[in-house]
C-alpha cells in the first residue's frame, strides 16, 4: 500500500513541477507585467479574477509554484548537505569532534525556529536565495542527529571494516560506500525537508517577509489579507486557491515519505 501511495505522491509532484517549469507558457498572462482592471471577479478571461493591482490571480498561482518549489528544494538541499556533513563527521570520527558537533547541533535544536527565522529575514534583504539559506541553516540539526546514528551502525558493518582493513581511505569509504547506504534515507529526508521548506516559506511570506517582487503562494495570501479580501467574497478566489496549492504539494511530499519509510524499515529488518 505504501508503495502505491508514494507512487501517487511522485506523480503529483512531477505534475506540479512540470506546471511550475512551463508556467510562462501555460499562464494566460504574465503576472508581473500584465495589469488590467483591479479586483475583478472570476470570469472566462480571468479564471480567478484579478488582485489589487490588476494582476491575473490564476497566472500568479502558476508562477507561485516556481518560487515555492525552488525555495523548498534549495532550502532542503542546504539543510541536508550541512546536516549530513555534520552527522558524518560526528559519527565517523567520534571523540572530541563528535562532542563538539553534537553541542552545536543541540544548540540549533533548541533555538526557537520561527522567531529566529523572522529576525534573520527582517535583517537581511528578502529574496528566494536568502530565504532558502536562512531556512536551510536553521533546519539541519535533525538530519545531523539521524545521519550520525546511521553512521554509527554502518561503521561497524563487516564489509566496511574489511575494506577499511584493506587500507581504503576515510574519504573513499564515506563517499563510495557510506553515502550509498544512506541513499534511501536521504530520499525520505529530502521530501520531508522540501515540504517543511515550502510550508515555512509560505508562513514567512504570509508575515510579509517574502520578497515583494517575487510571486509565491504565501505572498498572494499576504496581499489578499492586507487588502481585506476577507471582508468581501474575494477570499474565495484569492485566498482559497493558493492555500489549496500548498496543501496539494505538501500532501504529495508526505505521500512520498510513506514509501521511503517502508524502504528504510525493510532495510532495518534485514540488517
Amino acid at each position: 500500500m505504501n508503495k502505491k501511495i508514494a507512487g501517487i505522491g511522485f506523480g503529483m509532484l512531477i505534475l506540479i513541477t512540470v506546471i511550475a517549469v512551463l508556467a510562462p507558457w501555460l499562464a494566460p498572462y504574465n503576472p508581473y507585467t500584465d495589469m488590467t482592471a483591479t479586483y475583478l471577479k472570476p470570469s472566462a478571461e480571468h479564471l480567478l479574477g484579478t488582485n489589487d493591482i490588476g494582476q491575473d490571480i490564476f497566472s500568479e498561482l502558476l508562477y507561485g509554484a516556481r518560487t515555492s518549489l525552488a525555495i523548498g528544494f534549495l532550502s532542503a538541499a542546504i539543510s541536508i548537505v550541512i546536516g549530513s556533513i555534520v552527522g558524518m563527521l560526528s559519527g565517523w570520527y567520534g571523540g572530541i569532534v563528535d562532542r563538539f558537533l553534537m553541542k552545536v547541533t543541540a544548540f540549533f535544536m533548541t533555538i526557537p525556529f520561527l522567531p529566529t527565522v523572522i529576525i534573520l529575514s527582517a535583517f537581511t534583504k528578502p529574496g528566494p536565495v536568502t530565504t532558502s539559506v536562512i531556512l536551510g541553516v536553521m533546519s539541519w540539526s535533525g538530519t545531523a542527529r539521524i545521519v550520525r546514528s546511521q553512521i554509527l551502525s554502518i561503521k561497524n558493518k563487516e564489509y566496511i571494516q574489511t575494506i577499511r582493513g584493506m587500507g581504503a581511505s576515510d574519504g573513499y569509504i564515506l563517499s563510495r560506500h557510506v553515502l550509498k547506504e544512506l541513499l534511501p534515507f536521504f530520499m525520505y529526508r529530502a521530501s520531508a525537508r522540501v515540504r517543511a521548506g515550502i510550508l515555512s516559506e509560505s508562513s514567512l511570506s504570509f508575515l510579509g517577509l517574502g520578497s515583494p517582487v517575487v510571486k509565491s503562494w504565501g505572498t498572494i495570501i499576504y496581499y489578499a489579507q492586507a487588502k481585506n479580501a476577507l471582508l468581501t467574497d474575494a477570499w474565495v478566489w484569492w485566498i482559497l486557491p493558493p492555500g489549496l496549492c500548498i496543501i496539494l504539494i505538501s500532501c504529495a511530499l508526505t505521500m512520498i515519505t510513506y514509501g521511503a519509510e517502508e524502504k528504510i524499515d525493510r532495510r532495518l529488518e534485514h540488517s
Binding site: T110, I118, F123, S203
Partner: protein, 326 residues
C-alpha cells in the same frame, strides 16, 4: 543525577548567552547607518547635531566593547529603549502583550495534548490495525494545512460571513465588561484562534499516541493481564495509558519549543494582541529595536519552557536516567 542537571543548566545558559550576544550584533551587522534602525527610514530629515545627539544617547560613538556593556546594563535594567513606530517604551509594550500570548499558546498546549492523545488512543482501541487507509488520508491532509491559511478561512466564514465570532482582538474594546461577562467576552475572542491552533497542532499527538497504544497492546504483559482477567478499564488506564505518557510527553517537550512559533501566525490573522502580533507589526514597520526585543523575549520564553519540560521529564518516567558522557 546532579551532574546531569548541572549539565543541562549549562546547555541552556550557553543558549541564553548566545541569544543575548546575537541580539547585540544583528542590528550592528545591518548595512548603512545605525540611525535608520533607531529612528526609522528617514534619518535624512534630522540635522547633523540631532543625529550626533541620538548617536550619543545610544552610546554609538563609543568603542564596541563599551557599547556591549551599556547594552547588558540596559538589558538587565529592563531599559530596552523606545519603539519608534509605536512611540512607547518597548518594555511597556512587551509586558502588556505577553499575557495574551501565554493565554493563547498555553491553552493550546494543554488542549492539543489532551485531545490529540485521547483521540489517538481511542482510534487505536477501536481499530487495532496499524494501517488504515482512510486514517492515513485524513491525517496526511490535516497535517498539510498551513495554520495561518486555515485561520484566515475560519475567520472569513465564522467571523465575517456568519458573524458568530469577533474578527479581531482579545476583548471588546469599546465595552466595559466586568466580572463574569468579562470572562465570557475574553473566551469568545479566544475561541476561534484557539480552535485553529488546537486543530493544527494536535495531529502529532494523535499519531504518536495511536502508534504507541497499538504497540503496547501487543506487549506480553498486556496480553497476560487480559488472561489473568484484570478488568478492561484497569488495563486501559494502568497498563496502556500510563506507558503512552512517555512518548506523548517527549513530543510535548519538543512542541514546547514551537509554542510561540505557532502563536505568531495565528495571532497575526486574528490581530490577537500578543507577542506574535507585536513582532509582525514591528516587522511590517521595520521597527528594528522592537523586532529585536520581541525576538529576545520570545526566545527566552521558549528556552525557559524547554528547560522546564526538560527537568519535568525525569519525574514522568523514572526509567529514564540521563546518560553520562562516555
Amino acid at each position: 543525577m546532579n551532574t546531569s542537571i548541572r549539565k543541562r543548566w549549562s546547555h541552556y545558559l550557553i543558549l541564553v548567552v548566545a541569544i543575548i550576544v546575537i541580539n547585540f550584533f544583528l542590528p550592528r551587522l545591518l548595512p548603512g547607518s545605525p540611525l535608520k534602525s533607531l529612528v526609522g527610514e528617514n534619518p535624512g530629515d534630522l540635522t547633523a547635531a540631532q543625529k550626533m545627539g541620538i548617536l550619543d544617547a545610544y552610546h554609538l560613538n563609543d568603542p564596541m566593547w563599551k557599547q556591549f556593556l551599556y547594552y547588558l546594563r540596559d538589558l538587565f535594567a529592563l531599559n530596552w529603549g523606545n519603539s519608534y513606530s509605536k512611540r512607547q517604551p518597548i518594555t511597556d509594550l512587551i509586558i502588556s502583550r505577553t499575557g495574551w500570548t501565554l493565554l493563547l499558546a498555553g491553552s493550546n498546549m494543554i488542549l492539543s495534548t489532551l485531545i490529540g492523545t485521547a483521540l489517538g488512543a481511542w482510534s487505536a482501541f477501536r481499530r487495532k490495525k496499524k494501517k488504515d487507509l482512510s486514517l492515513v488520508i485524513s491525517t496526511t491532509i490535516l497535517d498539510s494545512i498551513p495554520s495561518f491559511w486555515m485561520a484566515v478561512i475560519l475567520l472569513a466564514v465564522f467571523g465575517v460571513k456568519f458573524g458568530w465570532f469577533p474578527i479581531y482582538g482579545a476583548y471588546s474594546m469599546w465595552e466595559n465588561h466586568t466580572g463574569f461577562h468579562k470572562i465570557v467576552d475574553i473566551l469568545h475572542h479566544l475561541a476561534l484562534p484557539l480552535f485553529t491552533m488546537v486543530v493544527t497542532s494536535l495531529m502529532s499527538f494523535f499519531t504518536t499516541s495511536r502508534y504507541s497504544v497499538l504497540q503496547i497492546l501487543n506487549e506480553d504483559y498486556v496480553k497476560l493481564a487480559k488472561m489473568r482477567g484484570i478488568p478492561k478499564g484497569r488495563i486501559t488506564v494502568w497498563y496502556v495509558m500510563r506507558n503512552t505518557l512517555v512518548p506523548v510527553f517527549t513530543l510535548f517537550m519538543m512542541d514546547v519549543g514551537y509554542l510561540l512559533s505557532g502563536s505568531v501566525l495565528i495571532e497575526t490573522v486574528f490581530t490577537y494582541p500578543g507577542l506574535g502580533t507585536l513582532m509582525q507589526e514591528a516587522v511590517k514597520a521595520r521597527d528594528y529595536p522592537l523586532i529585536q526585543y520581541t525576538f529576545l523575549l520570545a526566545s527566552l520564553l521558549t528556552i525557559a519552557a524547554l528547560f522546564l519540560s526538560d527537568v519535568l521529564y525525569d519525574r514522568i518516567d523514572p526509567r529514564l536516567e540521563v546518560q553520562e558522557d562516555e
